[in-house]
């Protein structure tokens, strides 16, 4: 949802004269929406601006984003950061991968999802909380 939100916002700003760059980790969602410029980091969601506790990787990632912002030749320019999260790519098999969950875990997650949805609805419906 988050990658979709920023993609839609980037499009809207761009349509109205503000040049944009999206930094993100979900390549398919951003490219399916379609944005002008995208710096893709092949990292777990939550690390679009670099590796934790690694200022050098964070500085490198933002600099790369700035370079894409100024140099992209056309819309839908995606640049993939050369940084690797880990030498072992098996972390990519885990996220929301139903094939890796037991029936008990699926049931537990369903209950948790419904519970969180109810909490979110309560907040959304409170006018003051929206500020």
């Amino acid at each position: 949802m988050c990658h979709q939100t920023v993609s839609l916002a980037a499009r809207h700003l761009e349509e109205n004269g503000i040049a944009t760059i999206v930094m993100g980790c979900a390549k398919d969602i951003v490219e399916y929406c379609g944005v002008p410029r995208f710096l893709f980091s092949d990292f777990p969601l939550g690390n679009a601006a670099g590796r934790p506790q690694d200022p050098q990787s964070q500085a490198f990632t933002l600099e790369l984003a700035l370079r894409v912002l100024e140099a992209a030749p056309a819309a839908r320019t995606t640049v993939q950061s050369p940084l690797r999260w880990s030498a072992d790519p098996s972390w990519k098999l885990d996220y929301s991968n139903i094939e890796r969950l037991s029936p008990q875990e699926i049931q537990r997650r369903r209950q948790e999802f419904d519970r969180q949805k109810e909490i979110a609805k309560t907040i959304r419906d409170e006018p003051a909380a929206a500020q």
Binding site: C2, L8, T20, V30, L45, A49, P89, N97, I98, R124
Partner: protein, 180 residues
């Protein structure tokens, strides 16, 4: 030697960007939610080249992170998903000072990262360093928080125009949008 062996310089098949849309669709179908989510999708994409060198531009930062809210449950690092920390309206903050922003309300990869270092999702301090070094003209006076909403209508008709209005009010010429 098999054909596979000949090409052992190749990366493993799963060492590719995660197919999130497929994973999420299969995940919620298996959890029992029938109608798959319809993701935003466009054939046409706008393009606005920078009109001046970046070293002269005022740049805004847009985030989906939320200000830390005491009393709204565990917001990390390492917090489980926490819908109580969500927000539903665009907010802004002073770019000149540091902020405690969290991402416990977002479906980040909790198996492989812990949200311990906000610089991995909110690069405001690094952007200020870029301005100080002359890499960009300046950081726009405010950064902006974008609510993540399932409703395309809310995002497109309420939140996007609000973000634009705030960027314009600050005379931003470019924007960096960081997703989680």
């Amino acid at each position: 030697m098999s054909e596979q062996d000949e090409y052992r310089g190749f990366a493993p098949e799963h060492d590719a960007p995660i197919p999130y849309m497929k994973r999420i669709r299969d995940y919620y179908l298996a959890l029992g939610y029938g109608e798959p989510y319809r993701w935003a999708h466009y054939a046409e994409v706008p393009f606005q080249p920078l009109e001046r060198p970046l070293a002269e531009c005022r740049v805004a930062l847009i985030t989906t992170a939320a200000p830390y809210q005491p009393g709204k449950g565990d917001q990390g690092p390492g917090a489980p998903y926490n819908a109580a920390a969500k927000f539903y309206a665009v907010y802004s903050g002073d770019s000149a000072v540091d902020h405690d922003l969290r991402i416990s309300h977002i479906a980040i990869d909790r198996a492989h990262t812990t949200a311990e270092d906000s610089n991995t999702w909110f690069p405001l301090p690094q952007l200020r360093r870029c301005a100080a070094a002359g890499r960009i003209g300046e950081v726009a006076a405010r950064f902006h928080g974008a609510p993540t909403n399932r409703s395309h209508r809310t995002t497109l008709e309420t939140d996007c125009p609000e973000l634009l209005a705030r960027c314009r009010a600050d005379a931003a010429e470019a924007a960096i949008l960081v997703a989680n």
